[in-house]
Every structure is written in C-alpha cells, then in structure tokens.
C-alpha cells in the first residue's frame, strides 16, 4: 500500500519543539488533515491537532504545510508530491499551545474593539436595499476566520507595530460597506489599528482559502479613505501598485 510520509512538529508548548516522523497509509483523495486524523486515532492519541468540520468551512485546521500557511483539510496529499515528506508545523504568528495547536484568541479581543455595526438613524422597517448594495460587503463575510492571512502577514508576525492584521481590516471593511451602517471605520483603522504599517505585499490574499481579495478590495480602499484624513506616505506607492493592477 502506498504510504504518506509526514514530519510533524511536536512540542509541549514550552521551549522549542522537535519533529516526529509518521507514515500513514494513503487513501484516494486524502487530505493532510485526513493523514493527521489517522495519526491521532491510530498512531499517537497525544498528538494535539485542532480540526472541526473537515470541509474547509470552519477554519480550525490552519497550519503551515511545507512552510506555507494552509488549511490541512483543503490540502490534498497528492498535490504535494507523493514521493516527498510533508512537513506540518503550527501557525507561527501565535503562541504555541502544544504540537500543531496555536492560540489565536487574541483575534477575538481585536474583533471586540472594532466599532460595531451601527444602523443609520431613521431607517424605515423592514429595511429595503438591493443585491448590488450587498455584494461588496458579502465578499468579506465569506471569511472563515482561519487566520492564515494573519499568520502569513509579516507585519503581524514580525513587528510589534500594533497593526491588527488583514482579517480585521476586512472585518471593518465589511461593516463600512454595509449599506445600512452609519459609521466609517477608516479613522479607527488608520489611527488605532495600524493600517499604515501594511505595505501591500498581498501575501494575505494569496493564502486566503476563501479567495477574498483582501488587499485589493479592503486594505487599499480603506487606506485611500484614510489618506484623505491623515497624510500617509504610502499612498503614492499604493497608487502605483493599483495602476499596475489588472
């Protein structure tokens, strides 16, 4: 029977971990999560791996596969080449809990600080608005909070700049683009949420499993709105980049 070879990060959550090799029988259409579930059920029940839906809808099984941030449930083993060993490590942007599990709960604190949805005054009930009004916001609402964008963002990962990260920019943008919302969050984003530190490398939208165009449709528009309020030396670069866009 064909085997899948895995190198899995193991740690107690304190200090540096180590890598452990596993070999798992291959099954047609097998995903990396499928292989990890085989390990946790049959080879080592102490392996800490977070997963829920197995269907790329909940975002629990975010990790780094061969150093690339990805959902384990959505990465098919064959796509990585059957003759090589697959390396699985936890998301690096967050404190490691144990093995492949890291602790992304700081994101919930950030969510709680983003100015909440606030309906415009004097709206007649039931609310009337149209499909064209909801499409822009709905794109961001597809976010499954896997936090892979946060994990891949070098500003979030390496600098203690106070930048809230791409997930939260689209969270704010989704509210800004809500047709019934009364607030504008670019002031919050640019003044408190460190949006200015994003230098638009688009890494976040490259790893998004929901293919949300985080940079193009949320970060850049919010930066531009902010630029009217605060002078931002990056605007020049953004404009250039946008010009080069399709």
């Amino acid at each position: 029977m064909e085997k899948v070879r895995l190198t899995v990060y193991r740690s107690s959550g304190e200090g540096r971990g180590r890598f452990q090799e596993f070999s798992v029988p291959f099954e047609e259409g097998m995903t990396v999560l499928g292989a990890m579930r085989y390990v946790e059920q049959n080879l080592d029940t102490t392996l800490a791996v977070r997963w829920n839906c197995k269907a790329a809808r909940c975002g629990s099984c975010a990790a780094e596969i061969n150093e690339r941030p990805a959902l384990m449930c959505k990465t098919r083993v064959e796509s990585l080449g059957m003759d090589s060993t697959i390396t699985v490590t936890p998301m690096k942007a967050y404190p490691n809990v144990r093995d492949l599990v890291s602790d992304p709960t700081e994101n919930f604190d950030i969510s709680g600080r983003i100015p909440a949805f606030k309906p415009k005054k004097g709206l007649k009930k039931p609310w009337v608005f149209y499909e064209r009004d909801v499409e822009r916001s709905q794109e961001f609402r597809r976010c499954i909070e896997c936090f892979l964008c946060q994990d891949t963002c070098h500003v979030v990962r390496e600098h203690k700049s106070g930048y809230v990260g791409p997930r939260h920019v689209i969270e704010a943008a989704a509210l800004d683009m809500h047709p019934m919302d009364a607030l504008k969050r670019h002031v919050y984003l640019n003044r408190e949420a460190g949006l200015g530190f994003c230098n638009i490398t688009k890494c976040c939208q490259d790893v998004c499993p929901e293919h949300i165009r985080i940079t193009d449709n949320a970060i850049i528009p919010e930066k531009e709105r902010g630029a009217d309020v605060f002078y931002d030396p990056l605007v020049y670069a953004i404009k250039r980049l946008k010009g080069e866009n399709k």
């Binding site: 107690s12 047609e28 259409g29 999560l33 800490a48 829920n52 839906c53 609310w127 499909e131 909801v134």
Partner: protein, 583 residues
C-alpha cells in the same frame, strides 16, 4: 530538553485542583443557540459565561448552508405563520409539540429581522427585501439565505455582538458533568484544554446548547463536536430524553473521495432547481413523489435515494447524480459558491459542467433533551436546553431551515427564561466531595488503557450498519448488545498525555456521551413498532395511530427506563390549520 510529553501525564492530585468561577448562568455551547441565549440573558441583566468545546466561531452552525425558515412573505406573499406551522406539524409526521411549532412559526420572522438589525446581510429580492428560496416540505419559498453560507453569516453576526457586549467566553473547554444541590442545578465541572487546567463553574442556571450527535455514524455531515454531549450531561443530571430514535438522514451528502464522504450538499441545490438522476439517467423522484419530486421532505427523498442505490441503480461510488449544471455558471457561482468550491477542492469536479454524486448522510437529531415549550426548561430546576440538543419541535422529521430558525427563537427564549429563574437566587454551593470525585474520574482517563478512538470506531460502525435509514428489530437488538459491551470497554478507557490540549482525553468524554445517546436511540427505535418520518422499520413498515406518541428515556435506579407520552393534542384554535393525519 525534557523527553517529549513526559513532563505531563503524571498529574498529581496537587495540580488537579480546580479553579472556581461564578456566574448567574452557564451556557454550554457557542453555536447559534448558545450565543443567542447569551445575548438574551445578558440583556435581562444576568452575568453570563459561555463554555464551548471548540474554538469560538467554529461551532457546527457555520456549516448550515441553505437558510433560515421564516414566513416573511417577501417572495411568496401568501406565506404566513399559519402555513409554516401546518408544514411543521404535517412534515414532522404529527409528532411535534404543537406549542413549540406555533412559537417557532410566529417568532421566526421577528428573529430574522432582528438578525438583520444586528448586521446580517441576506441576499435580496429585486424589490430590495430579503430573498427567500424554496426548500423541501415548505409550501412557499421561505428560506432567508446568504448564498449557501447562511450559518456562517448568522454565527459571525452573533459572535460579534457577544464580543462587543463583553460576555465571558471560555472556549476550548469541555464540560464533564453538571452538579446539583438541593434538587437544583448549581454548576459544572470543566477541563480547559489550552491551559490544561480544571475549573468549577458555579451557576444558578445552565443552558445546554451543545448540538447533536451525528458523529455516532460513519457517514455524517456533522463536525467534530457533535457527540451528543448535551444529552449526556442533562441525562446524567436527571433530565429526560425524548424522540431519540428520530435521526435525520440528509438526502444529499458527498460520496467521493473517501475523506469527503458525508460532507453536506445543501438542499439549496434542489431548492434552486437541481434534479436527481439514477445511473440510468432517470429522474427517479417522479416515481416516488410525483408532485413534489426533489423537494419532498428529507425523509422521503433520503429513502428514495437509498432505495435506488439498493436496487442497483447507483453510481460508480455508490450514490445517485445531482445535477444543477444546466442553470449556468454565473447562477451557480452566485447562489451556490460553497458547493462549487467544495466539489472543486475535494473531488476535482466542476459542478457548473458536471453532475455531483450524492447519497444520504446523517445530519440532525430531531430528538434530545425534553423541555417545556414556553420556557425551554427541563424537569430539573435551573437546567435549560435549546437548539438541536433538545426535542419536541421537529417531531419525526425536520424541515430544512427550521433548525436555524429554532436556534434563534428558542435560543433567545432559553436565555430569557434562564435569566428570570437565576437572577436573585442565592448560589447553592457545589458539594465538595463531588468535585473531588470528578477530578479523580478525570485523572483515571490519563494513563494506560483502552484507546477511546477504537471504541468510537466500533460504535460508529455498529450504528451505521444496525440503526441506519432502514431498521429492523433483530438488528437493533443486536446493536444494543454491542453497545452494552462497549460500555464495559469504556470503563477501561485511558490515554497518554496530560490535561493540556489532550484530544484523546476529550474523546474519552465524547465516547461516554455517544454511548448514552446510542443506547437511547437503539432502545427507542426498538420500542417504536411502526415506521414514521425518519424512523423506518422493515419489520413494521406501516405508520400506526397507536404510535402517535413520544418515547421518553430517563435514568432510574441504575438503568435507562423508557416510557411513552401522548403527543399533546392540538387546541381548537390551531386544529383547523392542519390536515388530519392519514393512515
């Protein structure tokens, strides 16, 4: 460096000390029902704490696809709560609690608008109102939706509200038992996975909002959490379980590849016009249900697909075909984006060009904890339940979209009623020796013993082969024997590692819950000597007027005791809305 994982696992009594936390209300589960309950309870002035087994925002609610059933009449203006009510009663095959059905039908529209006012963005009609789609068993187009990701939208909106209201959340925390003192609920014992510590939560009221038990079966649309934990906890505290034999098989789950087997293919595909074909290319639903065809109730369509596969009309991978490709690419990408990527990512199939292969998958439990229709209270003072964890609303078959309506309507009610009960009461102290015993019980799962995953696997296999879509007395009895043996094995369960993020330990708790739910399902299924809704007996293929009764399981002197209760009779003011049951 210390040898890996060797520093944990020998937990001494000392670090099995539990921290104490107090709240007015403890809510177990952070899905739609739990979060809605938390908001309602806090609005009433209660101090709330939410405990959830998964990370916040990952609850099974995010998997709900098709929509929320509510008779807004935005698309079909003739719709109203009375029609919705009669659909629930008739399609639940007259086993539903009429008062719960009435409450749901009346209050669902209000809850949908409320969710919109919380910030949810539903798809729109050309008049700018909330778009509603057709679903099986609903007389009118009734499901308010956001593409095929309605549950995600609902959960995010509620989650954001909970976070902004600064309601306390302990996620990735498992509740292992409920405590009672002087006959009423007084708290719960928990294991916090990320920190690997124990906590005792003192609360006057507990709301169980833990969802269902789909993981009792090999092929299921349910995620990791659905192991019947709520039923296990409530039953352990003395509450009654009802209608446990009623397990819903969703007609359409993925069949291929093996790793994706069971993943839900939303009823929205059929709601938007998709048709079912067997391997001979025949639209077989025309034979089984000439007028409603693909949009008959779920039990009917699931049995039809099952029968086609059994008759040898199945596809290569043991399913039937579901085709929506004729609707065109743009339509599909707008209305069913989740389905498009699910098939693309997992099976390499482009549903805008090709047919899907589907077969029934375990989806929902209609039964669960028995509650009072108005207040969601159980028979134990202080214990409430809402959502899939409780029984009564859906009878013998749930209509699509009614579960999202259920969790909003009864989530809110449970929060309000628990607050009414809990506020102003003095805390009953949790008996110290029970806390000690529970710590010891948890410690007993750490060490060498039977692998819980092996027991779970055997249980799933047993339930799938012996208590599936078509059942019979002999097989059910045999399964009950196996479950009894597995209960013995479960006494010797243990895993390596310590308390910190030990999924094996969590599986030990889950196995106990699953065994309890399995026993209740099997005993109830054996008792119900007829075929009704989701429960089909080969040896009793007809529906019987004698069995228009609910089966109730409760703990009594060391074993599970079963009894029946008449389905409450419809009052005069509602009776005229419902067609008389035909036999």
């Amino acid at each position: 460096m210390k040898p890996f994982n060797k520093n944990i696992g020998k937990d001494s009594e000392a670090n099995l000390k539990a921290e104490h936390i107090t709240a007015d209300i403890l809510i177990i589960g952070a899905g739609g029902a739990g979060l809605r309950a938390a908001i309602a309870a806090q609005e009433r002035g209660a101090d709330v704490i939410i405990v959830s087994k998964s990370l916040l925002g990952k609850a099974h609610t995010v998997m709900a696809e098709g929509g929320i059933a509510a008779s807004l009449g935005d698309v079909d203006s003739k719709d109203n709560w009375e029609v919705h009510f009669s659909d629930i009663i008739a399609e639940g095959v007259y086993l539903s609690n009429w008062r719960m059905a009435e409450i749901l039908a009346r209050e669902a529209p209000g809850r949908v608008y409320e969710l919109e006012h919380y910030g949810a963005l539903f798809d729109r009609t050309s008049e700018g109102r909330i778009m509603q789609r057709a679903f099986g068993g609903h007389t009118y187009r009734r499901l308010c939706h956001v593409g095929d990701k309605t549950g995600l939208e609902m959960l995010r909106v509620l989650q954001s509200r909970v976070l902004h209201r600064q309601i306390r959340i302990m996620d990735e925390t498992v509740v292992t038992r409920l405590f009672k003192a002087k006959g009423r609920i007084c708290g719960a014992f928990t294991v916090r996975l990320r920190s690997g510590t124990l906590a005792v939560i003192e609360a006057n009221a507990v709301i169980v909002a833990t969802g269902g038990c789909g993981r009792l079966y090999m092929v299921t649309s349910n995620s990791w959490e659905s192991t019947g934990d709520g039923a296990g906890l409530a039953y352990g505290a003395g509450a009654e379980l009802m209608d446990m034999e009623m397990i819903q098989f969703h007609p359409t789950g993925m069949v291929y590849p093996p790793g994706a087997k069971g993943l839900l293919v939303t009823e929205g595909v059929r709601g938007e016009g998709g048709i079912l074909l067997n391997s001979r290319g025949e639209r077989f639903m025309e034979r089984y249900s000439p007028t409603r065809k693909e949009l008959d109730a779920r039990d009917v369509v699931a049995r039809a697909i099952y029968a086609e596969i059994e008759a040898g009309n199945g596809t290569e991978h043991g399913g039937v075909y579901l085709d929506i490709s004729f609707k065109g690419r743009n339509f599909i990408l707008k209305k069913l984006p989740g389905m498009y990527s699910q098939f693309m990512d997992f099976a390499g199939i482009d549903i805008t060009k090709e047919r899907m292969e589907v077969a029934p998958t375990v989806h929902y439990q209609m039964g669960g904890i028995r509650v009072d229709a108005e207040s969601t209270a159980t028979c134990i003072p202080g214990l409430y339940a809402a959502g899939e964890a409780c029984a009564g609303l859906h009878g013998a078959n749930r209509l699509g979209g009614n579960s999202l309506a259920d969790i909003l309507v009864f989530g809110k009610r449970s929060g309000e009623n628990a607050a009414k009960y809990a506020l102003g009461k003095r805390h009953n102290a949790i008996p110290e020796h029970e806390v000690h015993m529970e710590s010891k019980r948890i410690a007993s799962y750490l060490g060498r013993g039977t692998n819980p995953y092996v027991i779970a696997e055997k249980l799933r296999e047993t339930m799938s082969t012996h208590a599936g879509i078509i059942r019979d007395g002999k097989e059910l009895a045999e399964a009950l024997g196996i479950v009894k043996r597995l209960k013995g094995d479960a006494k010797r369960m243990a895993v390596g590692g310590g308390l910190k993020y030990n999924k094996g330990l969590v599986e030990c708790f889950a196995v106990n819950s699953m065994l309890l739910s399995a026993e209740a399902i099997l005993r109830s299924a054996l008792m119900r000597k007829e075929s009704r809704g989701a429960h089909t007996r080969k040896d009793f293929p007809k529906k019987s007027p004698e069995w228009r009764r609910n089966i109730i399981c409760r703990y009594s002197s060391g074993k599970m005791e079963l009894s029946t209760a008449d389905v409450p009779a419809l009052p005069k003011r509602l009776a005229h809305l419902v067609k008389k049951e035909a036999y």
